[in-house]
Subunit: 444 residues, 2 copies
């Protein structure tokens, strides 16, 4: 007896340079894993506890958001048309001074709700009060890799505290929740702090999720101040000896890329193109990163820079951004873009063997996407439509860890009404900037 | 007695550097024009023939698509990951050899259907068999500025033919349809042809819609071949003496911009950022164009380069593209982006006095946008949400020329079922590339 039978889907199969569809196939889920993908009709529907008819829909892996600060959705729209210094110093770090633990619980639910609606089933999140975020993810039925943010100025004691959180929650919710250590950045954590974080990560078998070289300006400032690039600093401090997610690395030098290409630990880069464009940060050259074998995944960053938590936007902006950057429309092809959004994001997320691919034995994180909208017709190329036409609203059904969490756009785990009702009374306090403190200063 | 009362809307008001909302206002439409905008409740609903409740929705001007080849939606997804030379010579101009007049009738209906769903009420379209496009627009209830494309190689006789079309249809459908002459580009029409087009346009009181300096490469090729930029060529040939829509002008030189800034005729540029990014064409510096007072409107170009006919994408890519291009996130602000999408697009479209602004006396082209989706919540900034979060699916109701053409996403003028049924049998023929001719060669 199968737990779930998805009938008549067009199943997307993505490899590094190839993306194609298995048309008219059924996917069988047993427990939280895919147990078969077979021609439609091979399994009698009466042998499955739940049956979904996906005729005319594409089944693809749930999106993995490799870098976010999900609860920041609470402040979306409040950081507009400013450069990065002002964005941090005049806006974000004042707003975050207002944050209370329960805000994270509701903000996380809200952001996960938006991500489910966009087909995102897993997120690598870097934020505060992550115990509360974990409870929200537990409820939502999605997957998350949670890191409690740390600023060096708050002292070394944080490392033990966040490691305790990490150990408490790693593997929770039937394995849907994993944890990671999350020092903020080399410009907010000194070398001693970074070294101690690396030692702790190794000791508890955790990885590290950190911002680095967010702009070329940060790299230049670091070189001027101490003669080392931010990535060299991480390397020297031992951070890159453990599995690491590097947020952005836009300011990576050729020497930095050599360091990254030669590492033995799995280290990947989270690429968040909407935030980069909005904050005029530039783009990294993903074609070069790919050629060096460096893993690159897609991310949304927080919604105060990105406005939405939507990887359909990210996949499109990634492909288009590379074409513009390199002045060559043949670069970052449709199959490559789909590989970044699926397999490569799973690699950065640290579950390449289990996620990012619809195949027997993989975890059943599956989204069903309806391409019958006018904006897809005529459907001359399904893969082109997925990269350049699809919108969050085309995602009909979302399955995570074998459970249906959104069915025909109806949420089965979270309640939007409850989330909205709990957030509304918080907003007046959360939006205050006058008289609020400033949790940190941006001065890389 | 009013014809239409839109109740309880938040009415978007946009000026060059300011965008704000009149909250809780009613819009009254008499005939095809806005006759009042007043605080909600001032007019008794029983005094209106039709009443729409827009509580919680933003009312804004229908989008104006200043440059498109709408019927090309038939081939969407067939021109991927190639540069512009190959895009024209290996794909487009072969596919277009398959085109029959009735294809344009159905392709235009399909594209207009997609545009209505995205809140686009007017399009400046440059294509073939425009008599058929005009009939589609007449049926759809939208607005269009139609130009029958001309290649110089087909001879001067075309000018009289397309002028006859222009005269026959100008002002048709109660003024919803206007016409324009449409020589393709200076690299496909020689000077004699351009001069004759300008003379004819002046004689019949028409404007001109033409591609020019689509890339910097085209400008360089023209300089090398004849010592003049493409825009200088248009100027010398008299094209810029009549109202003109310049598609793209990405390769405009500083000297070209001086020419454009000094013109007495209204000449504007159509900016199509998704196509530019996908074809790696670069971006123009809109901040510079704005400073020179040159009108810039948003466009989608055709769907074989742009994939969708969606100006929500264009407004976002325009703002983000300028920030990236200039390395300054303070550039191309939210109010400026909204001005480009409304007033400035109306200026390029040639109806600045009648469209692009919700005000008494203007034509009633109004869209109602629902910002209650999860991706907008909390709605800290409506204007930020319109630029960075809104999607075509958020458009609920579309009014053009005072008539409701989509109501709560139900089409009232076009039938998607009929359009799909008529297009499907055409696709095998339309997709052929082998043995098809090549209507032109790209060799600027």
């Amino acid at each position: 007896m199968a737990d779930l039978l998805i009938q008549n889907a067009d199943v997307l199969q993505v490899e590094a340079e190839r993306a194609e569809l298995l048309s008219g196939h059924d996917i069988i889920v047993s427990g939280n894993r895919i147990s078969a993908i077979e021609s439609s009709g091979a399994t009698d529907p009466s042998h499955a506890a739940t049956v979904l008819d996906a005729a005319g829909q594409v089944a693809m892996p749930g999106f993995i958001n490799t870098h976010a600060h999900v609860p920041m959705v609470l402040w979306r729209g409040l950081g507009e048309d400013v450069n990065i210094e002002s964005w941090f110093n005049d806006i974000i770090w004042h707003l975050e001074a207002n944050l209370e633990p329960e805000d994270v619980y509701w903000g996380m639910q809200l952001g996960v709700l938006e991500m489910i609606e966009a087909g995102i089933t897993a997120v690598s999140d870097h934020y505060w009060h992550m115990e509360y975020a974990a409870r929200a993810v537990e409820k939502a039925g999605t997957r998350a890799l949670l890191g409690q943010a740390m600023f060096g100025a708050k002292g070394l004691g944080q490392i033990d505290e966040t490691a305790a959180f990490a150990q408490r929650w790693d593997g929770a919710a039937g394995g849907r929740i994993r944890t990671i250590l999350a020092p903020h950045a080399p410009y907010t954590c000194d070398d001693e702090f970074l070294r101690a974080s690396a030692v702790k990560a190794e000791a508890i078998g955790s990885g590290i999720h950190i911002h680095v070289a967010e702009t070329l300006g940060q790299t230049q400032a670091s070189l001027q101040r101490r003669g080392q690039t931010p990535i060299e600093v991480l390397h020297d401090c031992g951070i890159l000896n453990v599995p690491t997610i590097l947020a952005h690395a836009l300011g990576a030098t050729p020497g930095d890329l050599e360091i990254l290409a030669d590492l033995s630990a799995p280290v990947g880069i989270a690429h968040c193109p909407k935030t980069y464009a909005k904050l005029a940060m530039g783009f990294n050259n993903l074609v070069e990163l790919r050629a060096l074998g460096i893993a690159v995944g897609l991310g949304t960053d927080g919604a105060v820079s990105n406005n939405t938590l939507d990887l359909w936007e990210a996949i499109r902006l990634t492909a288009m951004g590379q074409k513009q950057l390199l002045g060559d429309a043949e670069q970052l092809t449709i199959p490559q873009a789909l590989a970044l959004a699926t397999r490569e994001s799973a690699r950065v997320y640290g579950q390449a063997d289990e996620l990012g691919d619809l195949a027997v034995g993989k975890l059943a994180d599956i989204i069903l996407v309806d391409l019958s909208g006018t904006h897809h017709f005529p459907l001359n190329s399904v893969t082109a439509s997925l990269v350049y036409n699809a919108r969050a609203g085309d995602v009909r059904t979302v399955i995570c860890d074998g459970q249906i969490i959104m069915r025909e756009r109806e949420h089965l785990t979270l309640s939007k009404g409850e989330i909205v009702a709990n957030i509304m009374p918080r907003m007046e306090r959360l939006r205050r900037r006058e008289n609020a403190g400033n949790i940190q200063t941006y001065q890389p």
